[in-house]
């Protein structure tokens, strides 16, 4: 039983190293949390590295109410929710057609969608930026009557890019679903639309959940497009607005810490509630060759 002892020791060492690394990994986040609970006055007197004198939620109140951070959360919801639903809806339609009917263009189409999603955003942003300055929108969308500096424009670009990845994933998923289910729908004389709406969409539910979680996180966390396409600070989602707060309140870093923690909370909740879907979403395409 020499090997047994040896592997026992080995696994204890491994546990020790893993535990230490895990704590080191989350330490910066916990440190930010700690600073967010301290009044700036304390830090000013004693420095960032000091024992707490007061710990309270004042910074959170100040960030949400005084700096009106709640507005940016609403902006985030206004962008992410329609963008995710629209992406999943459009992608599921394409995935349905290419996986249930065989047309010559199917593979080429899927390749266009898949590759489009991998293009660097910088390659498409120059003409998009110019185009947005010229696309007319009604005044109730934007008083300047252009698509630039509107949340609608931001939603559109997110949908256009993410639909590539979503189509790829959903059509892969549908390929693993037995065709017999569809065959019986055809025998029953269902129209194409009924086939999609009544048969395929319910089948896709697990894949839509994983993708939805992943895309919500991506779009919520997006920084580049929000900064490039939204000029007005008040229209920006929380992730991009944080850099404004950084400028505005650069004297009060504890307030900024509270802002950062607040911005992190929604994704944290999504992660803990739908962890399985999140991990499944990120590993799509890597376990099946």
């Amino acid at each position: 039983m020499v090997t047994g002892k040896k592997s026992k020791l080995g696994s204890n060492v491994a546990i020790g190293i893993l535990a230490f690394m895990s704590l080191a990994w989350i330490f910066p986040i916990l440190w930010t949390l700690y600073q967010s609970l301290r009044p700036y006055g304390d830090v000013l007197r004693k420095g960032y590295v000091s024992w707490p004198e007061h710990l309270n939620l004042h910074n959170y109140w100040a960030a949400l109410v005084q700096s009106q951070m709640w507005k940016y959360f609403i902006n985030s919801a206004e962008v992410a929710i329609p963008a995710v639903f629209l992406t999943l809806f459009l992608a599921s339609m394409v995935a349905f057609v290419v996986s249930r009917y065989s047309f010559k263009f199917n593979v080429a189409l899927l390749m266009i969608f898949t590759a489009g999603n991998l293009l660097p955003p910088q390659l498409i942003f120059i003409p998009i930026f110019r185009l947005y300055l010229h696309i007319w929108v009604p005044s109730w969308v934007n008083e300047n009557n252009v698509l630039y500096d509107t949340q609608l424009g931001l939603i559109l670009i997110h949908v256009a890019i993410q639909v590539g990845f979503a189509t790829f994933v959903l059509s892969n998923y549908l390929r693993t679903v037995p065709k017999e289910i569809s065959e019986s729908a055809m025998v029953d004389g269902a129209s194409v639309w009924q086939h999609y709406w009544k048969v395929i969409l319910p089948l896709l539910r697990p894949a839509l959940a994983s993708l939805g979680v992943l895309m919500t996180t991506w779009i919520y966390n997006d920084f580049f497009w929000a900064v490039v396409l939204l000029k007005t600070g008040d229209k920006r989602p929380i992730t991009a607005a944080l850099s404004n707060l950084q400028g505005e309140f650069f004297t009060d870093y504890n307030l900024l810490a509270a802002g950062a923690v607040l911005a992190f909370i929604p994704t944290l909740i999504v992660f803990f509630v739908l962890r399985k879907q999140f991990v499944a979403g990120l590993t799509i395409g890597s376990t099946k060759g």
């Binding site: 535990a19 910066p28 920084f223």
Partner: protein, 311 residues
Amino acid sequence: MSNSTKVAEATGRKARRGRKNAFTSKDRAVIAGLVGGPTLLHIVFVWLPAIATILLSFCQWDGIGGINNITWVGFKNFTQIWTLYADFKVALRNNVLWLLVFGLIATPLGVILAYYIDKNLKGTKFYQTAFYMPLILSLAVTGIVWDYIFRVNGLVNSLLGKDTTHAIAFFGDPHKNIWVVLGIASWRHIGYMMLLYLAGMKSVDPSLREASAIDGAGEWYTFRKVIFPSLRPVNVIVVVVTIIEALRAFDLVYIINRGKNGLQVLAVAVYENILGESARIGWGAALATILFLLCLGPIMVYLYQNFKRID
């Protein structure tokens, strides 16, 4: 293999039959709409702009006049970037460094972590969660979080006993800051790699491992000869993801110092030439085209990996 051909045959059979019996003109219109709408959106907002950028990279345009002010200049933008634009070489070097650190340090560390987490040791859920945390954090928040560690009056300088005048400028020193940023980026990338490899290892046939263990093979031997070969699809995805992430780097450096003073990267250089003080659209487009050419290899590999079986 045989399975997928069977599936393809079934689809073909069904479609042929379908076309004869079930496709009314209304159905045909619905199919056209289902595919056409999303495709149009994707092409108009992604592919046409991409092609326009590549064309613009051979043109000169100050961006003020209309599109009739665009003049064709051939490869001038590319030669000018190489000879006149000092930031370009720094940016290119930084992107290459990014790739090397991701590929040679972060990815192997992710493999090692995945290997030990896959053993389901005590507390494995906690370790996984800890390493996933940076992945759900936006890069904007990541920048703020690490700022508290490395700022002049932050944790590291305080622990070293340096006051603000003698503090180490982790973000300000152009010789140091890229390494600090690469460390932060790796903090995130290691977790991503761990996640991908862990999923791959979970799908390795357990009986293969048992057989190897019964044969008396050592751990390292089992990993090399049994586990690693079956991770091939993961490896391809990892290579693609690593290259594309390294080339896309933007948010983190932009948050820290707008990608200046030692933190230049290609993605920021594109941004600077379009929205910065000097609008040199030709240069910006040329830089974006270079970025695209660097991404082209991994994109092809990804397409090949995923579509070779469908054809």
